[in-house]
């Protein structure tokens, strides 16, 4: 008979170490005895002094082992060893056989541990304690069913990183100081403060969120067994909540429908439906006050030009220069647009200019802000504003410069090369509007050779000219 001595609680490392030795030496499960905790001292010798080779176990087995070692059952190690033995002796896929009595039992144990961890995450209550130094400090007392403190503690570290906390349980304690998670000895209920300023408020909330017409204690007890109650401040209210419930329901049912004590708020009701921005200034105020919907973004760059302009030009988004100055089309592409408008014989005063996306989306690389193209979803975040803006500016014709602007008008991806020229689109009211699609001037700037640049520039000017003609025809 081989006796294995393990530390109290969940001694995963000790168990792993000894199991490696036992398997390497070929000790069958019936000849191994595992002793955990104080009584372990009576028997001698760990299984092996030397490090035996690592066992290769299927992931699911390793996960199960990690959970079951936390179980309170003194037989846990013997049972897991039985599993490990079978898995390493021809039954590698044993865990798939949920009907096997050993697998069934271990899975139930794992479930119990998982549930206990989950309930600790759920039902533990912190109380605020006096500060030690600058940082806030919270302390809790909790009584788990299994040896789960170390398995449960990382959850609290990940969640409550910003203040110091301690969790005391009968057999161990865990402490977080903003840097490290430290495990210490067990404690007593008195280790946590006996009051907290928010507990009454929490109880108020708990009682108010209860619907007396739906009392169902069975469902409550299934999920929140009584063993957890004594460390949960709100549960002391349960008896009185239940006792009062039938009467509260009877009173509600018996009450006659009452006439409203106040007169109907006629004026407020009329004002309620009147929330649409009615002027461009109203809309712009909303845009300025809103959060950017793209990353980077420092401030909103609004459209510019006269209401009732003949032509409205929609670009992609403000660039670096536009973001700095807070005005649209003032960078290199904007200058090119101005020149092309001149060459097409369109007075700049006749043109309203704006962007599909109102913020500069960029990625900071060193000192440079690199322009990032907005995604389709991002363009649609901004589309409502653009549509409203165009309705308020009310141009005869809206010209989409490039694919992003075309997407913003059409509400779906549009190929500029394919649709270049007039394109109808549907406004927020469901009615058709006249649009026109051409390239973005930045496309011209990016062309490598001069000949192509000249050719495309002429085509762009021709587009602007055609758009201008179309707008005039629409007026007639």
């Amino acid at each position: 008979m081989r006796r294995v001595r393990l530390s109290p609680g969940a001694d995963l490392d000790g168990f792993r170490h000894s199991v490696r030795g036992l398997v390497a030496e070929g000790v069958p499960p019936d000849e191994a005895v595992f002793e955990a905790g104080e009584e372990a001292g009576l028997f001698g010798a760990p299984a092996s002094e030397e490090e035996a080779p690592t066992l290769s176990l299927p992931r699911a087995v390793a996960d199960l082992v990690r959970l079951v070692v936390c179980h309170a059952d003194p037989e846990r190690y013997a049972l897991i060893y039985r599993l490990v033995w079978r898995v390493t002796h021809g039954e590698r896929r044993l865990l798939e056989v949920g009907s096997d009595p050993l697998v069934h039992r271990l899975e139930r144990m794992a479930k119990g541990v998982r549930r206990d961890i989950h309930k600790m995450h759920a039902f533990l209550r912190f109380r605020e304690a006096e500060r030690v130094g600058e940082r806030e400090r919270f302390v809790a007392w909790f009584e788990p069913e299994h040896h789960i403190l170390e398995a449960a503690a990382p959850f609290f570290r990940d969640r409550f990183s910003g203040f110091d906390w301690s969790i005391h349980t009968p057999e161990a304690s865990a402490h977080w100081n903003g840097e490290r998670l430290i495990v210490g000895p067990g404690g007593r209920p008195e280790d946590a403060p006996d009051v907290d300023g928010f507990e009454e408020g929490w109880a108020t909330y708990y009682a108010s969120t209860f619907n007396p017409a739906r009392a169902n204690t069975r469902a409550m007890l299934n999920e929140m067994p009584k063993k957890y109650w004594r460390n949960m401040p709100e549960t002391s209210l349960i008896p009185s909540m239940l006792a009062a419930a039938p009467q509260r329901v009877a009173a509600m049912v018996a009450a006659q429908p009452a006439e409203p004590r106040k007169r109907p708020p006629t004026r407020a009701l009329r004002a309620m439906t009147d929330q649409e921005p009615k002027t461009l200034e109203d809309l712009n105020r909303i845009i300025l006050a809103s959060e950017p919907l793209v990353p980077g973004a420092t401030r909103a760059v609004l459209g510019e030009g006269r209401i009732g302009s003949e032509l409205a030009f929609v670009g992609e988004q403000p660039g670096d220069q536009e973001d700095i100055e807070g005005r649209p089309f003032v960078g290199p592409a904007g200058k090119l647009l101005t020149r092309a408008l001149d060459d097409a014989g369109i007075p700049r005063a006749e043109a309203y200019v704006t962007n599909a996306v109102k913020h500069f989306k960029f990625e900071q690389r060193g000192k440079r802000r690199i322009h990032k193209k907005p995604t389709a979803g991002e363009v649609k975040h901004y589309r409502w504003w653009l549509m409203k803006e165009l309705d308020l500016v009310h141009p005869r014709l809206t010209i989409a410069l490039g694919a992003t602007a075309a997407l913003a008008l059409a509400g779906k991806t549009v190929s500029v090369t394919k649709v270049r020229g007039p394109m109808g689109y549907v406004g927020l009211d469901g009615k058709e509007r006249q649009g026109f699609v051409t390239v973005h001037p930045s496309f011209l700037l990016r062309l490598p050779d001069e000949a192509a640049k000249r050719r495309e520039y002429d085509a762009f000017v021709a587009d602007l000219h055609a758009a201008h003609e179309l707008a005039r025809d629409l007026a007639a």
């Binding site: 798939e96 056989v97 949920g98 009907s99 009595p101 989950h118 759920a122 912190f126 109380r127 919270f138 809790a140 990940d158 969640r159 409550f160 990183s161 910003g162 903003g178 928010f198 408020g201 929490w202 108020t204 708990y206 108010s208 969120t209 209860f210 619907n211 017409a213 739906r214 009392a215 169902n216 204690t217 469902a219 409550m220 007890l221 299934n222 999920e223 929140m224 949960m232 419930a245 329901v249 509600m252 049912v253 009450a255 429908p257 409203p260 708020p265 407020a268 009701l269 309620m272 439906t273 009147d274 929330q275 909303i286 919907l293 389709a376 979803g377 991002e378 649609k380 901004y382 409502w384």
Partner: protein, 404 residues
């Protein structure tokens, strides 16, 4: 907590409790930043249960229960004489943070009565979420109620801060909605749900954050005379059309200050439960809504037995099912076998022929499943022919004594 704030909390938690959802699931896993507050685990955590058996996961409150709308089923409608209160944005933020630090909650579920305009109200809700995220580095769960009558750009804003957005369809048919909620409109509601679905899908595709835990909705059951068949058809179309994570069914329950239009009676809790079971059957068990409804009579589900058993009893010719051979689809139709048990059975039977004892270890529902199963040591043919099979399978009501 001072007296005034405690009063507000009492009034505004009471006013919010008719929303069934308290889920904190579906958000991507997040940890607190160094020195920050809050995390999400993916699955959600219920931090307490009230004696109505419902989970308390989020701080579920209204920003205010003053409301300009006059929905007959709602305790907060403008013509009700209920006690009113209004939180400031900062009060909600501080309550959330302080409750969260004590591990009472997973986060916030914020809704509101309509004050001034839908836009104004929606802006306040967004302000709370933004402050939590910005000023407190809060990474816990935030569920915001979306007001469908608010301007569409506000939905775009809400989705950046929230983990989940929801709009309640309230009633199963547009007709009922028109009658009982004069300020609401079914087309507006569906329009806003469509907008959210599109943005949520796009963001997922583009790996951006926009209401990452999706959207859900709630339907009140028993306030109008819609039959179960139509309730389920409506929810099936909502799941399909808007990719909802959940449709919550809320049995219309007596409220203080009830309206004369809706006389009060005990909430149809059993019916609500059957609807949830039916909902599960068409989402996870491969049933069509028509099949489920046909298990009952006249478009209503059978209240005495669950809809899967009801279907099985009307289709006895499909049983018994051979546990060792049947395909997954048919195993899922066996009363008493859940999706988990079915998957375990399929895995286990690759290694061994399953007998009754084995099954007992694979499912907690063997007692209910027995009449419908065949294994080498059990064959229930005669049982299936019995006329009183239903009576034998109807669960006997049991009362759990709490303070025995």
């Amino acid at each position: 907590m001072d007296e005034k704030l405690a009063r507000k909390l009492r009034v505004l938690a009471d006013a919010a409790k008719y929303d069934a959802s308290c889920a904190s699931s579906g958000a991507p896993k997040r940890k607190a930043e160094k020195g920050g507050l809050g995390s999400t685990t993916g699955a959600g955590i219920c931090h307490a249960y009230t004696p109505d058996g419902r989970c308390v996961s989020l701080l579920k409150i209204l920003l205010t229960n003053y409301c300009l709308y006059d929905c007959a089923y709602c305790v907060n409608r403008r013509s009700s004489n209920v006690e009113r209160a209004r939180f400031t944005v900062d009060e909600v933020v501080s309550l959330t943070v302080n409750f969260y630090k004590r591990n009472y909650i997973e986060g916030l579920f914020l809704s509101s009565g309509i004050v001034r305009t839908p836009d104004h109200t929606m802006e306040l809700l967004i302000e709370v979420a933004k402050k939590l995220r910005r000023e407190h580095g809060f990474r816990g769960y935030i569920h915001l109620k979306t007001i469908p009558e608010a301007s569409p750009w506000l939905v775009e804003q809400a989705g950046i801060w929230a983990d989940r957005l929801s709009i309640n369809v309230e009633l199963p048919t547009p007709g009922s909605l028109k009658m009982l909620a004069p300020e609401k409109n079914a087309a507006t509601i569906r329009g806003a749900m469509g907008q959210m679905r599109e943005r949520i899908d796009e963001a997922k595709e583009e790996k951006r954050r926009f209401s990452p835990a999706g959207q859900s909705t709630q339907m009140i059951v028993g306030a109008d005379d819609t039959r179960d068949a139509d309730v389920l058809k409506t929810s099936a179309s909502l799941y399909d059309g808007f990719r909802l994570k959940r449709v919550y069914y809320s049995a219309f329950s007596p409220i203080p200050e009830a309206s004369a239009v809706l006389p009060l009676k005990a909430p149809p809790l059993r019916r609500e439960n059957r609807l949830y079971q039916a909902d599960w059957l068409f989402r996870y068990y491969g049933f069509a809504v028509e099949e489920i409804v046909a298990g009952g009579e006249g478009g209503m589900l059978d209240l005495s037995i669950d809809p899967k058993l009801a279907w099985a009893l009307k289709h006895r010719e499909r049983f018994p099912v051979d546990v060792n051979r049947a395909d997954r689809e048919m195993l899922l139709r066996v009363p008493g076998l859940g999706t988990r048990a079915v998957d375990k059975i399929i895995r286990a039977r690759r290694h061994a022929t399953l007998r009754l004892d084995d099954l007992a270890r694979l499912t907690p529902g063997l007692k209910r499943a027995r009449p419908f199963l065949v294994v080498p040591d059990h064959r229930p043919t005669r049982l299936l022919d019995r006329a009183d099979l239903k009576a034998r399978l109807v669960p006997q009501p049991t009362q759990m004594e709490l303070f025995a």
